[in-house]
Subunit: 349 residues, 3 copies
């Protein structure tokens, strides 16, 4: 593709001489036949050393590179450029004779079902979906249009997915919630008779687990995105446009608002409420409700400024302890000195 | 079903007029055709607003709802009621011609083996088991009666399961323990020649991993329940009736007693002993032995009361640091004042 | 096998009378027909009670057991002995007629492909590999010689593996990196058009996920070993001979040096540098660069000695807070006493 073609497709101004390029790469790794971009200011210094033939940049940086694609939002325009180079995989038309589709299941037009996928009785798969090998869809599931179920992802019975959902490999939706109780010395299973409902545009990361509700449904709101190895407990209800990073765990019955971000390895207790627009930092431990709009981190979770100050002080704890012991000695010495200065009658008159 | 039938099956007293109902749901979500229950006091206020046609409640609350099923243990009776509404999935009789079962493997009566499951040489599967698609059972495994192996769960060679075990989707039992050592600058693998033994009634959550022992066996005691995404290292030995919540990790060779509860994301070091009836809070980091009966939390793990107090103080650390600096200034000022008050000869006579 | 044969194969001196043995086990669990070893000093006391017929030990301990195999490195020699007892599993010659191999894919000599494995268009699998059931290899992947892909492991399109790599069950390599951004109120996916490259000798644990790069490649260096349930974000670049223990998460674009060890549940932020020979303790939270050679732990990450001291002090925080309040009272009292002692004119002359 020519740089001028790319500029045309993205509606950007190209500075410098036109030429062919072969793909996209980072500033650091790009070869002379690749285009790059600058979105994170931390990488600005790479502008001087990059071999990229052109860079998608804000106007202020355009003069630092031989050829620039000037953008008001370089990250967005890089994303749009990338979309032109996405590798399609697993293309497949129709239902493979090596797939097992129950006679009562319905498969929409344009949907491809690979070998070794299984679709259970009563399930309905929408149009233009892609069902990879090793996928299991249990009984009475609903899958919307344009969904992708990557290899070995699993929908247990009765789960429903809106349009445009993506399940990455090994994702498991609708496994029984963890409901056990020791009653009278006996371990008893609490039956999990609810389901799971993913709204439109939800992505579920590789090996992420979303549990079936005890009653009712576990819900993930439209356009929420879950990264890999995340655990969503039974009866969690999550709003729209949330970003849940890898290895986060959300315990049962917790309610999460819209546009909530949870960074990696955060853990959220059960039966609590996380308001809209909350941002939770990495490794946070959240034991109770968080009001809307709060940004914070830590275990226990603290508002952001408190967390940052606390994080600075924790490594000083040994020093603090020593200084406190020193203070105790000094106060003791002062008390003795003062008593002595006041003489035997203690200045108490 | 009629409310009176449900009351009869559970042996509970029904107050109010009989009527039909369609299922169970939470107090908050129940429609007028559904029955609900109250077990967690935090939800008592929903009694006033629920639309449920009847509620399983303790006698003290029976007057607050139009129809009550009076129970000495509402949670238990809800569980018993739920069992009447459990969705059966994956029913299957006999061995699918699309499954690969080695001629030397034995499959018990009443056991269903779905398409695309593989059962290795020398393995024996008990009676009335259900083996879903994509399950892999390696060579020389033993699986007891009434076990359920959900889609894409994996037993590597030589693993044994007691009766009534459940493996949820993507669970992996018997993968090599993580045994590597850099010796003389070379990375060497320590062969893992042991196995894994799950006793009767063990549940293993989705995508949970239990490693093969280096020597001997990794053991999980009867009726212990593991949630999703849990990691059990090689040669761990766990007692009976343990509850291990999601994303917990237990490192190699650690011994865990009976009736131990570990909450989400707790991490347990290797080569230590956790006594009977220990409860470990969420996100705990346990570096050393815990005596029987201890309840606690934190990283490092602390006894419960200490943990709670500590958790209150951590967000005050910035304030504590400031107050300590203030104290140091004041003590310094006092020392100076006292020296001045005592005059040049220092009151040392 | 005779003890003398074992001694001969390992090149070790045998003390005591020769006899047959059946296998290897730990000191604690060994029967009289098994050989054991002592490598961890914490288990030295088991020498007195073990029933093992012989023990691989350092010379200093040889006198404490009836038969010793005297070793300068008992752990290494135990590993060498174990290698003689490794169970082979999944042996398989050639491509199963129940596997789906695209006509354009190439399978090397001596490689076995089990039923229900899928190999995509344009992929090349080396010699003497073992591909278990349920494995998915997408389009245009490269797999070196002597690789083992355990059941249900997944390579998405375009991933490359060097020789001698092992993917344990459920490992997922090359799923899309987590690239989303809310732009103008809309959730947008950032296309992930890079790939993943594992060099020679990399092991990937069960259900571990390694994400495809946004651009370029996510790289794992030669002989690095990843345990189960690990998350490697897009564009991570890891050096050689690293040991990454279970449930670790490394966020996107972070660079990790050679011979780095990360203990269980550690979390590493994105876009940072971890130097060579760094050791990161369990549950650490690493927000910024760590220089080469550092050993430490904690969240936030601290140098080792600071961490150990801090961990001792955290449980004392309630006591520290109380002592500080006490100090404040005493200083206040001293100030008052001193003011009184100095009289109304304050000693200010």
């Amino acid at each position: 593709m020519l740089l001028s073609e790319l500029a045309g497709k993205l509606g950007l101004e190209l500075t410098g001489e036109d030429r062919e390029f072969s793909g996209l790469n980072t500033l650091e790794a790009a070869s002379e036949s690749e285009v790059s971009f600058l979105a994170n200011p931390r990488y600005t210094h790479f502008l001087d050393s990059t071999r990229a033939c052109a860079v998608i940049v804000a106007a202020e940086h355009a003069g630092r590179v031989p050829r620039a694609l000037i953008s008001a939002n370089p990250y967005l325009d890089f994303a749009r450029a990338s979309a032109l180079f996405v590798r399609r995989q697993g293309d497949c038309s129709g239902v493979s004779p090596l797939a097992v589709v129950h006679p009562s299941a319905e498969i929409g037009r344009g949907t491809g079902v690979h070998p070794y996928a299984c679709i259970g009785a009563g399930s309905r798969i929408g149009e233009n979906c892609l069902i990879f090998p090793g996928v299991y869809v249990g009984e009475d599931c609903l899958v919307g249009d344009n969904c992708i179920l990557y290899p070995n992802s699993v929908l247990l019975a009765g789960v429903s997915l809106g349009d445009d959902c993506v399940l990455h490999s090994g994702a498991v939706i609708g496994t029984d919630g963890f409901g056990f109780a020791i009653m009278g010395g006996q371990m008893r299973k609490i039956p999990q008779i609810g389901s799971v409902c993913l709204e439109k545009g939800v992505d579920v990361g590789a090996n992420t687990c979303i549990d079936r509700a005890t009653l009712g449904a576990t819900r993930i709101g439209a356009d929420s995105k879950l990264d890999n190895l995340v655990q969503i407990g039974h009866n969690v209800s999550m709003g729209e446009q949330c970003l849940i990073i890898s290895q986060v765990g959300i315990a049962g019955s917790t309610k999460v608002g819209d546009r909530v971000t949870m960074a990696g390895q955060a853990g959220i207790s059960g039966h609590i409420n996380i308001g809209d627009d909350v941002t939770i930092g990495p490794k946070s431990g959240v034991p109770k409700d968080i009001p809307a709009g709060t940004k914070g981190s830590g275990s226990p979770f603290m508002e952001g400024r408190t967390f940052l100050r606390t994080a600075t002080i924790i490594p000083k704890l040994p020093e603090i302890y020593r200084r406190m012991q020193q203070l105790e000695k000094e106060v003791e010495a002062l008390r003795n000195e003062l008593a002595q200065a006041q003489g035997p009658d203690g200045g108490a008159d």
